[in-house]
């Protein structure tokens, strides 16, 4: 293409990309009148406005240069730059509308404020935005990964945002939304490059041995085209499983047994066979539950699980792997991928303690421990029994403010032990009224209210 042709192409591309920008600007203009949106979304919108301004300046500059030069290499470079911009806008398109349409309307807002606070203790600039989704699952979407190109994040602000999606039918349920903290773990894993920390915690020679063993295994067992893809896939699998395990361990360290309860409660909805499936993105839920319990026991929580939630303890005790700690991979689940996954599992087992150690170091100053639970459990439980949100309560000659973690754990235990049955007996509601979930909803609201009060009291300087 000659210089004139390139110039025309540049003009056409600028026109196309500017059309996309104009549409985004229009959406932002509509959003200006929406007052009730979460703080993190407001910050995101500000970022996009800033980005749109920079982009417009950049296009003007590109157009000016293209008009003044006839250098084919310069014009080609400008064209390629515009392609990057265009690609970036398509990436932005993936999540832009979803985020700017979030409102505070009936979201588990206090819980998200609390999770953002935890995030900032570990990753100062981090911000999570949560949205409802149709799929009955929780997802983490790193915004920087979709639009990590330098041109799309000129001031390196977007990289601090993560989007977390939760099932829309669970928006009211605090006990399910505890699982959001696991997604927070994924964000931290990516942002703080935990994978490298784990690798560096392994003896390099040992690491080389793993790598060599995997390669040898693949070479011995797989021929033809499959051999080309398998080695990187196996490492990717192990790294994904590290990430998943890290996110679980992180949640356990931050929130204690409540994470186990939430995880089991969520998985009870799945079929038994699904619980035992290993996939390349994450180890089986069966494996994860046993590891979560293992870490809780290591941190001293066994007596709490055993005495306060005997049903959960019994359930966990019934898992063979929990009894004898041999994590057998269930057979007849995999077909083609069974053997590589079995190999990956072996290496996961060899390195899982390293993942736990890295998590322990990272969460040292925000770990929720047994001692705090034991100090606060009785008063929180007493409040709940008396149908009072455990905010700031007079206890043992002092006004006492329970930590959000104690509120979540004690309330979950109260729920698992059918505590709300006591509320029905205190009320004039009949058993038939239970289908309206009135007291279930009240328990969720009490937890949110107490967590919000805790955050407010902290801001107030108490």
């Amino acid at each position: 293409m000659d210089a004139d042709g390139l110039k025309q192409e540049i003009d056409r591309k600028i026109y196309e990309v500017k059309r996309l920008i104009t549409n985004i600007e229009e959406l932002l203009e509509e959003k200006k009148y929406e007052k009730y949106i979460p703080k993190e979304v407001k910050e995101f919108v500000l970022y996009i406005k800033e980005y749109v301004n920079i982009s417009n300046e950049h296009f003007n500059f590109t157009r000016q240069i293209s008009q003044e030069t006839f250098s084919i290499p310069v014009l080609t470079a400008l064209l390629s730059l515009l392609d990057t911009f265009k690609e970036g806008f398509f990436s932005l398109h993936h999540f832009f509308k979803e985020i700017i349409e979030i409102s505070i309307l009936e979201s588990p807002s206090p819980l998200l404020i609390y999770f953002n606070k935890i995030l900032r203790k570990i990753y100062r600039d981090g911000k999570i935005i949560a949205t409802k989704q149709s799929e009955y699952n929780f997802h983490f979407i790193p915004l920087y990964k979709i639009s990590g190109r330098p041109l799309l994040d000129p001031n390196r602000k977007l990289e601090h945002f993560a989007l977390i999606r939760y099932p829309f039918s669970e928006y009211k349920n605090v006990f399910s939304n505890i699982l959001l903290i696991h997604e927070l773990g994924h964000f931290i894993y990516k942002k703080l490059n935990i994978k490298n920390k784990i690798i560096s915690s392994i003896d390099p020679q040992e690491f080389d041995q793993y790598e060599q063993a995997i390669n040898e295994y693949v070479e011995t067992n797989y021929q033809s085209d499959y051999i080309i893809e398998t080695p990187p896939k196996m490492w990717e699998t192990i790294f994904s499983w590290w990430e998943e395990s890290f996110a679980d361990f992180f949640a356990v360290r931050i929130i204690g047994p409540a994470f186990l309860y939430a995880f089991i409660k969520f998985n009870l909805i799945l079929k038994d066979t699904e619980i035992k499936i290993f996939i390349s993105q994450h180890p089986s839920r069966y494996y994860r539950i046993t590891r979560i319990i293992g870490l809780l026991i290591k941190d001293g929580w066994e007596s709490v699980i055993k005495l306060k939630t005997p049903r959960i303890y019994k359930w966990a005790d019934d898992i063979d792997a929990f009894k004898n700690l041999s994590y057998n991979i269930p057979t007849s689940i995999f077909s083609f991928d069974e053997d590589p996954i079995r190999e990956c599992y072996k290496y996961l087992e060899k390195t899982i303690e390293k993942v736990a150690l890295v998590t322990e170091e990272l969460t040292a100053n925000c770990n929720y421990d047994l001692e705090t639970f034991e100090e606060e459990n009785d008063i929180v439980e007493e409040c709940l029994k008396k149908f009072i949100p455990p905010s700031e309560i007079f206890y043992k000659d002092n006004f006492f403010i329970a930590k959000p973690e104690s509120i979540l754990n004690t309330a979950f235990i109260f729920y698992l032990n059918d505590g709300i049955e006591q509320w029905y007996s205190m009320s004039d509601r009949s058993k038939d009224d239970k289908t309206d979930h009135f007291f279930d909803n009240r328990l969720n609201e009490f937890v949110l209210k107490s967590i919000e009060d805790n955050l407010i009291l902290e801001i107030w300087g108490k």
């Binding site: 505070i104 007493e382 007079f394 209210k449 009060d453 801001i459 108490k462």
Partner: protein, 213 residues
């Protein structure tokens, strides 16, 4: 009913153990020294609201729970965290609640009043002002801007005053959680539809009456 409880009496009751049947709970009190006055407790605006949404529904009327005319069709719940504001436009009605969760013991009776400082700006905080013994929950506030300019309200702002009376011969009830909204921590949609049957009966009587004429 005995006289109004003094600030020091209120403080004594607040300092009773949570399991004591005579304990009074008002939580959180962000500034006890200032909020507990000589004869009452200043209460703050909470963080949850119900606002009227734009709708094509012609009017609110009595109907079964899930009918298109039900109240949830024309109202939306919103959460305004501490540090943000809710704007109440002129001639607009918003439901709010107190930040404080209140539990009255069996022998106390309460009343809520507006603060005149807000009234002077056109904001009226009309509420179901009587609080019965055993009440548990955040008080619902019916906020109306009667002025000509919008008013920005900040959650946590002092909004009203709670006054308490002791009941001299208070009976102890077996069922403590009664009423339509026990333990509400945020404003809730009206449950007037629960009276639908009564309204239908009234309509029937009215129809029969007109038929006779």
């Amino acid at each position: 009913m005995d006289g109004i409880l003094s600030g020091s009496e209120i403080e004594d009751l607040i300092k009773k153990d949570v399991s004591d049947p005579e304990s009074l709970i008002i939580t959180p009190l962000l500034n006890k020294g200032k909020q507990i006055g000589s004869d009452g407790v200043d209460i703050r605006l909470g963080t949850y609201f119900i606002v009227h949404s734009r709708t094509t529904v012609p009017c609110i009327k009595f109907g079964p729970k899930r009918s298109p005319e039900s109240i949830a069709e024309v109202q939306s719940k919103i959460h305004i965290p501490l540090g943000q504001q809710i704007i109440i436009q002129p001639s607009t009605f918003v439901l709010g609640s107190t930040l404080e969760y209140i539990k009255l013991p069996y022998n106390l009776y309460g009343g809520v009043g507006s603060r005149s400082s807000w009234g002077r700006l056109g904001l009226v905080i009309a509420t179901a002002i009587n609080i019965h013994p055993y009440f548990r929950g955040c008080l619902t506030l019916e906020l109306v801007n009667h002025g000509n300019i919008p008013i920005a309200l900040t959650p946590g702002a002092l909004i009203g005053q709670l006054i308490l009376h002791r009941i001299s011969k208070a009976p102890k009830e077996e069922k403590e959680l009664t009423g339509k909204y026990p333990g509400s921590t945020r404003p809730e949609f009206s449950k007037i539809f629960e009276e639908y049957k009564t309204v239908k009966d009234l309509q029937k009587i009215s129809d029969e009456y007109h038929a006779e004429i």
